[in-house]
């Protein structure tokens, strides 16, 4: 029993890496643009299906799909950005309708192109088991967990050390003041959309490499990313990582101890529980939200 629980914790943590990448993208765009991109999960899923196509048609490891996924997902994200940018009134609210509509269109486009069948990787190299003491994982899980950590480190570096990354944070923090500092917020909004889709591309290829995908999964991913972002209190990268690991572990424990049918429900319960106990999220300082 203990071994089962340990194994669930381990798998949950590994899963949390990709969740964190998805949630960071959502949080980044929300920070600069105050827009919750409800099509974010679909962009991740698009990358996953591109990985499937590259693997099945070329017979190569899905990681080779990353450049193509980056290209297509970034292009799609830029399109979403320009559509959102067309909204003239009540952007925060109307963008919910718009991005929800885009999400539905994307889901159906994915279903049209790739059919509703469940897909998973056939890469033997990726499915190879890796055993660390009593713990088991697939090679793909470990590889992409390390990749996620590397990307998060890169993101942290960019946000705190580069001129443009700091500008993104400045716009999130005080939009008018950032304008006075010489920052054109529309540029930083576009940049945040692009960075979010870079993270989404890696996450999508990761999800395909160790899990199963189907057209309706995009919506599920958006909800997960939203839960994590709110759990973290719209804050820092470490906060989002902890929130993502917490969700990953909760889901894995639920699957191990109860049933995989309850996985999404468990995430929602975690969400409600944390907000009930800590209304500002795990790391949100009191009164610093909104």
């Amino acid at each position: 029993m203990l071994e089962l629980i340990l194994q669930a914790l381990f798998s949950g943590v590994l899963q949390g890496g990709s969740y964190a990448l998805i949630a960071l993208g959502l949080a980044l765009v929300f920070g600069t643009m105050k827009v919750i991109n409800l099509a974010h999960g679909e962009l991740v899923l698009l990358a996953a299906y591109i990985a499937y196509t590259v693997e099945s048609s070329l017979g190569v490891n899905p990681v080779f799909a990353i450049p193509l996924a980056l290209l297509i997902v970034c292009a799609a994200a830029v399109l979403v950005y320009f559509l959102v940018d067309l909204i003239r009134q009540d952007r925060e609210l109307n963008s919910l309708l718009l991005t929800y509509g885009i999400a539905i269109i994307l889901t159906n486009a994915i279903q049209l192109i790739w059919s509703a069948d469940i897909r998973s990787t056939g890469s033997a190299w990726f499915q190879e088991p890796v055993v660390i003491g009593p713990l088991y994982s697939m090679r793909s899980e470990l590889v992409f967990f390390v990749v996620s950590l590397a990307l998060m480190t890169g993101l942290w570096w960019w946000l705190s050390r580069s001129w443009y990354g700091r500008a993104v944070r400045a716009v999130s923090s005080q939009r008018d003041a950032a304008k006075l500092m010489g920052v054109n917020p529309r540029k930083t909004e576009l940049v945040s959309f692009i960075v979010a889709s870079i993270l989404a591309s890696f996450a999508g290829v990761a999800l395909f490499s160790y899990g199963v995908i189907q057209p309706s999964y995009g919506h599920v991913l958006t909800v997960k990313a939203f839960i994590i972002t709110v759990l973290a209190g719209m804050g820092s990268i470490p906060g989002v990582l902890v929130g993502a690991l917490l969700l990953g572990v909760t889901e894995a424990l639920t699957v191990t101890l109860a049933s995989s049918a309850l996985q999404e429900l468990a995430g929602m319960c975690l969400f409600l529980l944390v907000l009930f106990v800590m209304p500002n999220g795990l790391f949100g300082a009191a009164g610093r939200r909104g």
Binding site: L180, G182, V183
Partner: protein, 233 residues
């Protein structure tokens, strides 16, 4: 240096500024005083391009800057120091300063400018890595000032720097304003502390209900007359 010519501006359907004109001469401190809600901040925001004009023109060195985006103003040598609440609270003090040097032409000198800022405001130096949200009101204001000076502006526009500060800090702040003026910078200062503001000013404008009610050289201003006007409404 800067001429505001008969402008109207406001927030959507609500007009706030009614035919406002004033000018700021190079090397001088032009002070705008007036009660809360008179439209002083609105005037500064209009100059910086944060609000669109619905009438009139604004000229810098004789050239119209109407419609210039706020992010292009620092390239023209104009910087606004908004009230201290508008620092980047989620960023460190040093990151706040670096944002002040964001335009490409200022980035190379940013490190050196940070050192100058620390020399001018020693309270910031010890805590360079602290989140700006942790600062007191006075320190936030100092940070806003230091950040605004990072681009070495020719024209400095400052909005109510003494708002809500303790008297000691206010004195310190006016000391800094005096030094900036002595450096030969052109300054437009909005203040509610009438006595101190008139003390450092070259030219004084009184603003009421979105209009300029009085414009006088500081030397000719009688504080009593000013107070009478101030409370006339």
């Amino acid at each position: 240096m800067l001429e505001v010519d008969n402008i109207r501006a406001g927030y959507g359907a609500i007009n706030v500024l009614w035919d406002v004109s004033l000018s700021a001469a190079a090397g001088q401190m032009t002070t705008i005083i007036g009660p809360n809600g008179a439209g002083k901040t609105t005037l500064l925001r209009s100059i910086m391009g944060l609000l669109p004009l619905t009438q009139g023109d604004i000229r810098l060195h004789g050239r119209s800057i109407r419609g210039t985006a706020p992010w292009d103003m620092s390239g023209l040598g104009v910087a606004m120091i908004p009230e201290g609440r508008m620092i980047f609270k989620d960023m460190t003090i040093e990151e706040n300063l670096l944002m002040g040097a964001f335009p490409k032409q200022h980035r190379a000198a940013a490190r050196q400018k940070c050192e100058q800022a620390y020399a001018m405001f020693p309270c910031l130096q010890e805590r360079w890595n602290l989140l700006a949200g942790m600062l007191s009101g006075g320190e936030s204001q100092m940070l806003a000032m230091a950040r605004g000076l990072m681009s070495d502006p020719e024209l400095l526009i400052i909005d109510e720097p003494s708002l809500g500060l303790a008297p000691v800090v206010v004195n310190e702040l006016f000391g800094v304003l005096g030094r900036l003026k002595a450096e030969g910078r052109t300054i437009i200062l909005v203040e509610q502390n009438t006595q101190k503001a008139v003390g450092v000013a070259d030219q004084v404008h009184l603003m009421q209900s979105g209009k300029i009610a009085l414009s006088q050289p500081a030397a000719e201003v009688s504080l009593e007359h000013l107070h009478d006007l101030y409370f006339a409404h």
